[in-house]
Amino acid sequence: MENKRYYITDSPLNPLELQQLVTKPEAGAVNCFIGTVREFTKGRRTLYLTYEAYEKMAEKKLAQIGSEIQEKWEETECAIAHRTGRLDISEAAVVIAVSSPHRQAAMEASSYAIERIKEIVPIWKKEQWEDGTAWIGDQLEKNRYPRGGPGKEELEE
């Protein structure tokens, strides 16, 4: 895992490690985004999350996001890691580190990366609530099926 810039792991993430991967003398800024497990969503209490990934493809897609960033923002360096398995409240699910000569690019690119992760990286989270459990999907509501999910007739088929 050392020196790998785009990876999926079931071990706790270390933001400092990713930050160090992107730091270089030419950089004037390193932006590190940490996505963590939130306890309450719309009043409903989460006990923990379970993340599953299509690991091989997910790592490819994280690397693709890195390439997109380097095309859009010159002289940036990027590293992204995503956790799988059971995560408790406040644990880091994803860490994105971007360095750039000036701060604006690093901040914009980090924001771009997390949005792209939610679009193209095959990772899924399962919510464990006090009263139930469910796989979560389509957070961006960009499902290519207009109804956004199975309709009544599909469920009955």
């Binding site: 299509y54 490819k60 995503h82 994803v94 095959p122 990772i123 899924w124 979560i136 599909e154």
Partner: protein, 77 residues
């Protein structure tokens, strides 16, 4: 060809992988095959498809030694 399922879709099929002895099929045909095997796996209808870890279109061809994955809407981050 190898067919992979993940997350909620894996729960619906009850397995993470099936093998289809078939020389060639479109992605759409693979999707129909999955539904014929697992009629209650409705998530396959809204799943994105990938062949050998790249997203594909419904009319793309899958070959015998390919790996097809059906990906429910993702929720990483």
């Amino acid at each position: 060809m190898k067919i992979l399922f993940f997350a909620g879709l894996k729960d619906q099929t009850g397995t993470e992988e099936v093998v289809w002895e078939k020389d060639e099929a479109t992605v759409g045909e693979v999707r129909e095959y999955v539904l014929s095997l697992f009629p209650h796996a409705y998530t396959v209808k809204q799943a994105m498809a990938a062949v050998n870890e790249e997203f594909v279109q419904e009319t793309d061809t899958v070959h015998a030694d390919d790996t097809v994955a059906f990906l429910p809407p993702v929720s990483g981050g």
